[in-house]
Symmetry: C2
Subunit: 356 residues, 2 copies
């Protein structure tokens, strides 16, 4: 193994100056065909890897990157994704990027439509999308494709689009695993109540649909005889929930186990606590501050984490490295499904807690 190859080395081999090599490497034009071909030939032979440290300090260009996700409040799932994104920008503090965040109401398709239309008109180098509505996302992506603007999905991916990459859990497997966990905790014939968020003007979120499919498939495959009670759950009109919940617990002789397929498990946990309903086994999604609290109190048995900080971090990092170094990108990126209990939750690393 000899010394690392540099731009000057390539320049010498191709009989040009390093300026020209740089222009070819970055597709910056103003290069004669002869020179370009000579350089490309050399590049095929040598395995040139730019020194990213040097690149980092010499970069002068600014990049404009837009991020769009559902709205979020402190401690919520989507906030973690944004934390991850910010940490990636901190790691590349030397790179000048203007980034702008557009959020929409994930329970209201009209809000999403409006936001995405605004975004479509903006000048930008790249986009990171947290999608929840299928059709709206497909429309946006079509426009981006036309303009050759690269985009990366976080949280989930959408069919009929061509993202540079996506960072997401496998939601089907997630539901499958939840089914296994909950059935291991309860007697064979216990009913299981599943909570799903309802939304304005659209079906359930794509993630929830996939999780539910995985869940029911597990039960079917394993010939589980548990009765499934599907309970709607309104984030926008919380007063409706009281009704559903009270109906649920009064119509049933035996207390059912509970699975919450979105990150609002703590709502249900609180209802149970306030109404002194005990002995319910709960499994919920996502390590929101409120869910973690409920887990520690023993109200929730298992929380399933899907590495939101990691998703955000790598979405932004991947995008930057693609823009700056044209680094090749892995398209499919499935994140871990972490199983958290009150025992191991304290060691779980979010970015708050030192990282990467």
């Amino acid at each position: 193994m000899h010394r690392k190859i540099r731009i000057v080395d390539i320049a010498k081999m191709a009989g040009v100056s390093k300026g020209t090599v740089d222009r070819v490497l970055h597709n910056r034009g103003s290069v004669s065909d002869a020179a370009r071909i000579a350089i490309e030939k050399v590049l095929e032979q040598v395995n040139y890897k730019p020194n990213i440290h040097v690149s980092a300090i010499s970069l002068k260009r600014r990049y404009k990157i837009i991020v769009t996700t559902p709205e979020f409040s402190p401690g919520a799932y989507w906030e973690s994704i944004h934390n991850g994104i910010r940490h990636a920008l901190e790691e590349y503090e030397n790179v000048k990027v203007d980034y702008q965040v557009f959020t929409y109401n994930q329970y209201d398709v009209y809000s999403c439509r409006e936001t995405f239309e605004k975004i479509a008109g903006i000048e930008m180098d790249a986009l990171i999308i947290g999608p929840t509505f299928n059709e709206e996302t497909v429309n946006l992506c079509k426009k981006l494709d036309d303009r050759d603007i690269p985009y990366i999905f976080v949280d989930s991916t959408i069919e009929d689009t061509s993202p540079l990459a996506f960072f997401s859990a496998d939601h089907y497997v997630c539901g499958f695993m939840i089914a296994k966990l909950i059935t291991s905790l309860i007697p064979a014939h216990t009913n299981i109540a599943i909570f799903q968020a309802v939304r304005t003007g659209d079906r359930s979120a794509n993630t929830t649909i996939l999780r539910k499919k995985g869940f029911t498939d597990y039960l079917e495959k394993n010939r589980c005889s548990n009765l499934i009670l599907s309970i709607p759950f309104s984030v926008t009109e919380p007063e409706d929930n009281e009704m559903y919940l009270s109906h649920l617990f009064h119509s049933q002789k035996d207390i059912p186990a509970i699975v919450v397929l979105n990150s609002r498990g703590n709502y249900i946990a609180n209802y149970l606590a306030n109404n002194h309903i005990e002995g319910v086994k709960m499994i919920c999604m996502d390590l929101t501050t409120a869910n973690i609290e409920a887990l520690k109190k023993g109200q929730i048995e298992y929380l399933i984490g899907q590495e939101p900080e990691y998703q955000g971090f790598y979405a932004m990092k991947t995008m930057l490295e693609y823009l700056i170094f044209k680094k090749p990108v892995e398209r499919q990126n499935y994140v871990q499904l972490d199983i958290l209990t009150r025992e191991n939750i304290d060691f779980y690393k979010s970015f708050n807690n030192i990282m990467y």
Copy 2:
């Protein structure tokens, strides 16, 4: 927030040249008290953070770092730790470090003693230690302390030493959690067999002792009535194990659940498979290749992971950043306890599988 502060800025403020500031920052001596004090005063006021990219490309010094751990074979626990270490070195490819690995037999105290004595005589800048024997490690560390050589522990930490840092799971909590998981899988009065490795010339490994304590404490606290069968397990003399195992399964009416507190769970799983013993619930430690295989086959119910790549990676990274940038170090670093099932194992990220 103004422009980032550089060495020249500090030099100007302190009324000296940047060479002198650099000498202070790196403790390289040849600085008058007056200059040093002036610079230190400025450093207190401004929050100087060196540009690591620039540092990385200008570094010329070589570092000699020694790593000592138990021996390991492909796919084993300790190999993952070494993988993490190597990845840290790759991240800092520009830094010239000579690193040398010394392994010892973790089941033989004499081997450890010999290795550590050899290491103690070597010239080096820093040491990373995977300890398993208490007394021997304490002895080694005393000598290192005398010579002002910094050391970091991985896998576990040892009392009465003063490491720069350690990266380890909380083994007590680990045992506690395993107890919770296994009892959730089995009827209330099922016996539980616990396997521990036996060693030559010493008690059990410190990690195993802690895990077992956590395990029994959980059962006690929760008034579990399961009978615990402690089974010795020999790595050096595998033929003994057959005997223990056959005795175990013939002396018991009901098939016990099984917990393996070291990373050799797959041995037991294979014994069960070979002898057509079915329906045993097993929980084992560590994501070795062999254990993962057994998990996927359904022979093992849960595997507990303790992020060995992460431990190795951060041990080396922390050491390098301490040596090069005098970056302040967090001493206690507890890693995650990951719960893996055959459902989520495929998404588990080791370094093989893209990382950091």
